[in-house]
Symmetry: C2
């Protein structure tokens, strides 16, 4: 008999069963829940946690990363910190054939361990990562350019929440049927037909996760853990500029796997040498049957078209839009949007780019506001958040790479600036590349400019004929190019409903009248979906049933009793 037919409770499953149960409840209710506290406060994590994590991070710098993988002997060093810190970590390189062979070898015993054992081990990996969350946060900060608190939250606690969320969906999907079922059918006057049926959860094969520069953990964890818990060995290919956070992740995952008696090659790091195109080689390797990718539309589209032997999940670029019709809290609206544009210098896939405002202005609690006054209101909010360099950099962080700087330069030529980007000297990291957001005024007919993504601290206030026209533009731009987020501000229920209909039609998640502590660019695990799969910005949501159901198959056997 194969192992998953007679599964005995795994000690790691027992240890984490309460967490899993709570997560399963959360994904069915989609209300507020979090498993990993998002505050890095000593009151939550203890007095020494932050310092210990920093020390652990610094111990990695300037040397070969301690990873027990067999490579081809060469070492990869490709990182350059947006904070100007010298990282200098070397990672063991391995070929696609070597990685896929090691992964394939690890598969059968992991498959046969069954859903509970795999869930237990994966939950223990999450727990191990959480115990080292400050180390992880430092690695995210200094590779992505996120400020510390954001790196701790988005790169640590929230990433772990999203991983747990994906794991819970996958566990629910694997266990929605029993492992075995009795079947008894009346057969005329004779004895009934009686059979025992066994339903094996069979992984697709080797999974590949291709990480991104800005959110190396948050965007990688759902795919990593959804694939792993469903039985697929995972090869983690980090972005060349953000290797460390995933190297730390792989290191602890391998520790837990080995301790639990499994082949640590179930999770492998695949650092890419310059010009090597390892991601493409892996993505088209016959053994690779699942690919998760976050990054450019160009490469995501290439993967979808060319990694045909695999199930490909992509999150790509889009045109996030805001429709401003009216508001009963003009100050709150401006502050809310200002924060969104400032956070991580707008380098989130969810940051708004196209802010659509009737060129005749809008009605507000402060009376009529002209187009210019609305634009200035948002610009002023950004200015206030970034005026003090020491406070500003804790929101903006640093610029992730030179492509953003090039766009900041290019955008000065496309329209009238409402707010200019400034260079800021980081008080703590003089080598950090810091820029404040720019806001550029466009007209509705400047389509060539605003129908492409300007990733970075760049947004447009776009004058339209009316709110109806704004909604038309939302439909057109998101319908064509996709988006991960949309927002609407209106005091008119009919406008809110029209915006909701438009959002449903172009498949984008919509936030209405955010004026307080919730921001359009932030999504809460277990409640908000990230991506919909219903427009060009992503072919899947990061965490839902559709995201996990195709990562394994059910193979049945039946025998007469």
């Amino acid at each position: 008999m194969m192992a998953d037919m007679t599964e005995t409770p795994h000690p790691l499953y027992d240890r984490h069963a309460d967490t899993l149960d709570r997560a399963l409840t959360a994904i069915s209710q989609r209300g507020y829940w979090s498993a990993y506290p998002e505050s890095p406060s000593p009151r939550v994590y203890g007095e020494t946690a932050a310092g210990d994590g920093k020390v652990a991070f610094e111990a990695y710098l300037g040397r070969d990363f301690p990873l027990d993988q067999v490579g081809d002997g060469s070492t990869v060093r490709t990182e350059a910190s947006p904070f100007g810190v010298d990282l200098g970590v070397g990672y063991p390189h391995a070929t696609a054939d070597h990685l896929t062979t090691a992964a394939s070898t690890a598969l059968p015993s992991w498959r046969d361990a069954g859903p509970q054992a795999r869930a237990g081990v994966c939950l223990e990996i999450l727990d191990r990562l959480h115990r080292n969350v400050f180390e992880l946060a430092n690695a995210v900060q200094f590779t992505s350019g996120q400020a510390f608190v954001m790196a701790f939250q988005a790169g640590g606690a929230h990433a772990l929440d999203r991983a747990l969320e994906a794991l819970a969906y996958a566990y629910a999907e694997m266990t929605r049927h029993p492992g075995t079922a009795g079947w008894e059918k009346a057969a005329g006057k004779g004895d009934p037909l009686r059979m025992t049926k066994t339903f094996h959860v069979v992984p697709r094969g080797v999974a590949l996760v291709i990480g991104c520069n800005t959110f190396p953990t948050w965007n990688s964890y759902p795919g990593l853990f959804a694939s792993l818990v469903t039985g697929n060995p995972v090869i983690v290919k980090p972005h060349p500029r953000a290797v460390l956070p995933l190297a730390v992740t792989v290191r602890y995952a391998r520790q837990v796997l080995a301790e639990a008696g499994f082949d640590p090659n179930l999770v492998q790091l695949a650092p890419e040498a310059p010009g090597e195109k390892l991601a493409s080689t892996l993505a088209q390797h016959p053994a690779v049957r699942i690919v998760d990718f976050t990054g450019s539309s160009e490469y995501g589209d290439w993967l979808e078209a060319n990694a045909r032997q695999a199930q490909v999940y992509t999150e790509k670029a889009g045109l996030n839009a805001v429709v401003i019709d009216s508001t009963d809290d003009f100050g709150g609206m401006c502050r809310n949007l200002g924060f969104t544009l400032t956070l991580y210098s707008g380098q989130m896939c969810t940051t708004s780019q196209n802010i659509l405002i009737p060129r005749d202005g809008i009605e507000t609690d402060q009376g009529h506001k002209s187009f210019a006054e609305v634009a200035t209101g948002i610009a002023t909010a950004v200015s206030k958040l970034t005026a003090d360099p020491a406070r500003g950099v804790e929101l903006t962080g640093a610029i992730v790479n030179d492509g953003v700087l090039e766009r900041l330069d290019e955008v000065t030529k496309v329209g009238e600036s409402v707010l200019e980007s400034r260079t800021v000297t980081h008080p703590a990291f003089p080598g950090a590349v810091v820029r404040t957001p720019t806001i550029v005024r466009l007209n509705a007919d400047d389509t060539a400019t605003y129908t492409r993504e300007w990733f970075g601290p760049i947004s447009f206030v776009i004058g339209t004929d009316s709110t109806g026209h704004s909604l038309e533009l939302l439909r057109a731009t998101v319908g064509e190019k996709g988006a991960l987020t949309a927002a609407v501000y209106s005091t008119d229920d009919a406008v809110l409903d029209a915006a909701e209909t438009a959002a449903v039609e172009v498949g984008v998640h919509l936030s209405a009248n955010l004026t307080g502590g919730v921001f359009v660019n932030q999504s809460a695990a277990f409640s908000d979906f990230h991506g919909s799969g219903a427009n060009a910005a992503a072919n899947a949501a990061l965490t839902d049933g559709a995201y996990v159901a195709n990562r394994f198959r059910i193979v049945q056997s039946r025998r007469h009793v």
Copy 2:
């Protein structure tokens, strides 16, 4: 507010809620259950049902089919009955653009009706089809060549069960989250953040179902109802030789839709004129976002490669295998396999083709049996079932098309015949094309012959070095070309386990030691999975979570309370 935010119970949902509840229980337990009685007996369906159904069927013949679709004015007549009956039904032709436009127009109100209303309407359609199941069975019989009882069961009751099963999975998937959720997060010393989140079930777009010649309803219904209940308008493109069963289906579906106040163009028939390639045009149409197909590997592979704008579900050809190692019921084994080879003249996608037997023979309850004795045992069982023409044709039915006849001719040249195919005159339908099964002896090295699918009443007994060798060949053939079914006969638990491991590795459903009233080519709805998606014979199972989860997306909106 959009309708699915404030869904009120739909009267059709209320009418069928018990059936749906029972189906939801069945798919979570995977034991025996059926909603639609499989016996065509008057004791079940009443004295007049069979006659009424026959009359209704005959009323369609030789005239234009009564369908309220607007077409382009031309009429399609492409059917030729395997029973030699003159069908002569004309169907209204429409262009791909016309069909997709009508479908797209019908989408929004169906989407906004919400999961319960859609489920209620779909359940009412199934009920309407069930009330007309004899009419449907006749239509299946005379287009597919199935004998009547099989057409009633596989084409009627079981097809409805599979439709309900897919509908239940889809309903479970759509309703696993609430339509709205409250979210409340503590925010320091201030008031907590409070939001209301709405989760819209948004269909992918227009769905296309491409039917096959042999199982026009059974293979089409799961995709049709999974797509429809998740909000996608469905265009049904029947096989040119098996239009009537799906025309009847579309007719009743449109009736129910119209009665319930929905646009009947949510379900449209797309009959294909000779040489028109309407299926390919529709499959690549930008509005078509889901394709379900059953048929040849060549066309299924083409769809997967070319209908890139759509989610494509295919069931294709494979190499179904039987490994015979030993048995404690030689007579039962031979009778069971003989029945499988005879039923519908082996024209099932699940019929065994390659029967792998050690050339030194096997141990049985009747002592050692040589390879030749095993082959003869199976051949004799087939002969007994087909000896009497009147009884035989009720199992074999008729040959579906000339391709099968050509293969029957070709196969006489590839090996030594153990059992020759005979031409049989059907006592009731002198024009029927009836052939009994042939069994051909091959050796393990005749790979060129047995590694292609010989669809029809053709199977091979293949001499191998040992059972281990047989399992190797199962792994190699199914691993390369796929299969929908595999069977093993052995008295040795180690062999059964080895076969199960091989089946898991190549992703094929396995039946062990079938000697009674369960056959490897038959699967029971709500318990057995059909197809696994884990090998080349199909990229999905017909009814499981993975089959339904990608037919819709969740689009969220959130507002402060």
